[in-house]
Structures are given as C-alpha cells and as structure tokens.
C-alpha cells in the first residue's frame, strides 16, 4: 500500500502545521524559520515521506518558508528479566543482552514536535494580517 502513504504523512504534516501555527500565534511571531520533529521508527511514519509532504502542508501558512528538521530516535527496550536497556532493530524488540522477548519499549515510537524557531512579529507589525 506504499502509494497511499503520502496521504497519511500529509495528514500528519497538517497536524504538525496546526501545532506550529498555534505556537507562532501565542508568541506573536511573524514567521517560522525552523521546525524540529522527533520521529521514532515505530511511530509508523516514514521520514522521507514527511519531508516531501511538509511543503504542501506548510504552503500559505506562517511556516510556509520554514525548514523541517527531522530527528530519528533510536529503538530501545528494557528487559523485564535482566533489566538491561539495549538498542535494537525495529522488528526485533528482544533484549540485546539475554534475548528475552518480554521487554518494554522505552524509546522509538515518538512522533513529537520538539522545537519551533521563529521571527518576532513586532518589527513588521504594520504588514501583518
């Protein structure tokens, strides 16, 4: 179903832009220059597709000129048996030390808006809408 995915990432980018716009509004920013997002491999979201969907979602908004910075978080599990915390592959969530499959995911499914960098709106107040 690969060809459906861009839709899905577009929906996620629209949610992202809505959050970015809310932050920009509350800070009275005139424009957003950078958006930092953390994406885990187990979030179900593909970074290249987010990157390609972002400009479509951002167009015409306060983040229209913004650069998107995606940061992949590692997949880490904590073992319920030996307590080890290990970095693992997304489809192999077993303990890296003792191979027990009863583990808890402690990182790798994030989908977080982390940071927004923006220009203050005050110097351009006259032009603002």
């Amino acid at each position: 179903m690969k060809y459906w995915q861009p839709m899905h990432e577009l929906a996620i980018c629209q949610a992202l832009i809505a959050q970015v716009a809310a932050v920009a509004r509350s800070e009275h920013a005139s424009s957003v220059t950078d958006v930092y997002v953390s994406v885990g491999p187990l979030s179900g979201v593909e970074c290249p597709l987010v990157r390609s969907a972002f400009p479509f979602a951002a167009a015409g908004t306060v983040a229209g000129e913004a650069t998107l910075h995606l940061r992949q978080t590692p997949v880490r599990v904590s073992c319920e048996d030996c307590g080890a915390e290990t970095e693992v592959a997304a489809n192999r969530l077993i303990c890296g030390r003792c191979s027990n499959w009863r583990t808890q995911l402690i990182s790798g499914d994030e989908l977080l808006l982390q940071r927004v960098v923006m220009r203050s709106g005050r110097p351009r107040r006259n032009n603002d809408v």
Partner: protein
C-alpha cells in the same frame, strides 16, 4: 491535559527535553521555543473521548486491521451468524470507496455505518466519532470497527477501541509481522485467517508467524481460523465473549486505556 501531562515521556526519551528552559533568544533575532507535543495529540484526545462514550454505554469496541482482502468482512459475517441470537452487535465500516462491506453486514440484519474515507488510508478518531452519533450505543454489547485495509497507517491512529485484532491471511506469508512491526506490535490478538488455503500454499507456518510476533515483544494470543470452512471459529468467538466479560469487570475501575510502548493511548 494531554499537552502538559508528559505522558509521552519515559526515562528512555526524556533526554529529548532540553534542560535549559523553554524559550531561548538567538543572536539572529529569532526565538526558539521548546514544545514537545505529540503530533497525534488531537487524534488521541478525540480517541479518549470516544472510549468514554463506549464505556458509558458499556460497549466493548474492537478495531479490526489487516491488509486489503485478508478477510475482515467475511470474518464479521461469520461472527454475526454465530452470535446474532446472543449479543447485540454493530459495525463501523472504513471501506474506501464503496458501500459494499456495509451492505454485506446490513444483509445480516445488523446496523452498519459506512465511513466514506474517500482517498484516506486509515480511520481516525474524528471519523469514528461522527459515525458513533448514528448508532444507538445503549443497546450494544460489542462494536466492531473494520479499518481500511492497509498494514501501515491504521496502527498509528487510536480510535478509542478497547482491543486491536490484526488479521493475517495465509496467502500473505508468515513473515508479515517482521515486515510491518508497527501494525503487529499493536495487535492484542493475531488471527491467522483463510486457514483452508494453507494446504494449497504449503509453506505458511503459524508457529513462525507467532515467533515473529514474540520478537516484537508482543504477548498477544495467535488463533488460526477460516471464516469459509468454520475451522477455528469457536476460539475466536470465545475470545470475544471473554473480552466482553473482562471489559465489564474493568469498567468500574476505569482501567480500559491501552498502553503501547512509551505511548498511552
């Protein structure tokens, strides 16, 4: 509420939160603000609201996910045939373009609400919420939500369901859990469907599918069945009845949330 409760943070990802305050001014005259908000918060919030609806009406809600054609609607038809005298059921259908699946359910005398997702690849909590208002929840024991046939997107969107059932039809191959970890990690029950075709296929091994599921740290039970022949249906029907009972027992304690990894949904 959800923006500030930090429910996405575990000690494994808390380092993502910068230690030095929320707002920083840079030399170029820009401002940088730390947000840390889940991109799916709006959906998750709506999903919690849906779950409250279900709980108020003592409805047990099941989200069925699979690749296209794995047998979701056929399983529902067979389930309705088996349980109709016993339980009050309704179905929300996430068919992409047609009313076909909803019509198949209505033919059985069961309420089916069609969500026309158009070109969407998954259901979200808002779509399910608008469908809920077309249903009389009071009379229901169980609500089945047939998600859009897709092994990728639906797993990311909580709908407010109490349990996820993921179908894997034997012709798809037993290694699908390794190829689609996000989907199979979310399963509370794995149903291997179209078991009648295994003989023809020759190489589908349910044990192997189960082993791949365990590698995702998922303890979900694995059942093998065929909606066509009826093989294995009893265990699935028993699972539904047992889960309805468990759900009703959990209701007074308000412990019906689902926990997946570092995310509470």
């Amino acid at each position: 509420m959800c923006e500030s409760c930090g429910c996405n943070l575990t000690h494994g990802n808390e380092h993502l939160v910068a230690a030095d305050g929320h707002l920083a001014r840079t030399s170029s005259g820009t401002e940088s603000i730390e947000v840390l908000k889940g991109l799916l918060d709006a959906n998750d919030h709506q999903a919690r609201h849906n779950r409250e609806h279900f709980n108020q009406h003592r409805v047990f809600a099941v989200n069925l996910m699979s690749s296209p054609g794995a047998g979701k609607t056929s399983l529902l038809e067979a389930t309705i045939d088996a349980l109709a005298g016993d339980l009050n059921m309704a179905v929300i259908e996430g068919d992409l373009e047609t009313e076909n699946d909803a019509m198949r359910i209505r033919d059985k005398g069961i309420a089916a609400i069609q969500i026309s997702t158009g070109s969407a690849c998954h259901l979200d909590a808002h779509m399910v919420h608008s469908a809920l208002h077309e249903l009389t929840l009071d009379e229901l024991d169980v609500l089945f939500i047939e998600n859009v046939g897709n092994l990728v997107c639906p797993a990311s969107f909580d709908l407010g369901q109490h349990r996820n059932v993921t179908l894997l039809s034997s012709p798809e191959g037993d290694d699908k859990p390794a190829k689609y970890p996000v989907m199979f990690r979310a399963a509370d029950l794995l149903l291997i469907t179209k078991s009648d075709l295994m003989e023809v296929l020759g190489d589908f091994d349910p044990e192997r599918a189960g082993a791949y599921l365990r590698r995702l740290a998922n303890p979900a039970p694995v059942l093998v069945l065929s909606a066509r022949s009826g093989f294995g249906m009893q265990a699935w029907l028993d699972w539904i009845r047992e889960e309805i009972n468990l759900h009703r027992r959990r209701l007074p304690q308000e412990k019906t949330d689902r926990h997946i990894g570092s995310r509470t949904v």
